[in-house]
Subunit: 192 residues, 2 copies
């Protein structure tokens, strides 16, 4: 028997798969229910409406990313190594969870992503900001705005994972080039 929390997760996972495949508008609640093996009505005991479901998924995804990346961070290392770990963790996470990557990509630029949501506390954004702030404090990277730095790095990882995904065949022999991008960014932000 599933606990309530597990059922909630099950609905979220079902919605994630559908949304990555079809987008928000082509992922009816009825289908989400069918995939999750629950009745339509059940979804409405866990979420007020479809918008709340989508925002709930966003919060879930953001938390999962934070857990994955922060667990693999080791503040005792050299910041350069921490940076490469950060990059690799985030890349790995997206490649291990393509539905979360697809969802995040869509959500960020969607009208669901309102100012209100962006101004709410966000464990992942906070972690990323603090991460880069510590690099600045240690004098290892340029003193740019940590918000800017984190968005920059995160959106580059995002793009690269998307490229890897889209051009799986065409670029197979050039996959290494994509990993070079992390050096390229590091060279750009490091303090010599």
């Amino acid at each position: 028997m599933h606990s309530l929390l597990e059922k909630r997760k099950c609905i979220i996972q079902s919605a994630l798969d559908l949304i990555q495949e079809n987008g928000f508008h082509a992922s009816p609640v009825s289908q989400v229910a069918k995939n999750a093996r629950v009745a339509v009505g059940t979804i409405y005991t866990y979420f007020d409406n479809k918008e709340a479901l989508i925002i709930g998924i966003y919060e879930y995804v953001v938390e999962e990313i934070k857990i994955y990346v922060s667990e693999r961070d080791d503040p005792s290392l050299l910041f350069k190594d921490r940076f490469y770990n950060y990059w690799k963790s985030l890349t790995d996470f997206y490649e291990l969870n393509p539905s979360m990557h697809g969802f995040y990509d869509q959500f960020i630029k969607s009208p669901f992503n309102s100012d209100e949501i962006q101004s709410k506390p966000n464990v992942w954004h906070d972690f990323a900001c603090e991460f880069f702030e510590s690099g600045i404090k240690q004098g290892k990277i340029k003193a740019l705005n940590p918000i800017v730095l984190s968005i920059l790095v995160n959106s580059n990882v995002n793009s690269i994972v998307r490229i890897k995904h889209n051009f799986k065949k065409k670029l197979s022999q050039n996959k290494m080039e994509l990993d070079e991008i992390s050096h390229l960014i590091w060279d750009g932000i490091k303090v010599d």
Copy 2:
């Protein structure tokens, strides 16, 4: 009196405005028609269906970007200067045409953006690839895959314009930092 092409443009512009504001699914054809001051049926003489309209908009946007950026490129300049011009043109274009920027951002990650569309010839992608290829041939930038390079640069410009747009107030004093990103990327790809 408007010509047929002008009416087509009018429908596209009306849809662009709505989609940037509300997204694809919250931009009904009826509203697009109302904004464009035509009847619903008229839209269907210019586009087979809503999907064709959206793809038509994409092709229009992509062409406008190519025209704007290529007009401001001067192959006789040093490649470094050409790079900064490219960066500035693209940034300017998005800032002058926020609805196109919003649309493009949404479209790229949407299910409308099928493999079929990506494999069709695309004047803008072709221009960007040739641009970076010429930099490589001149030995001014690293010999990375030009497709990778163009996607990388374009998605960075995209992110930065989005940051500027979202954080207009909070980052006003840090706007300069965002322009530094172009140096950061140039330092990363240039050959010393």
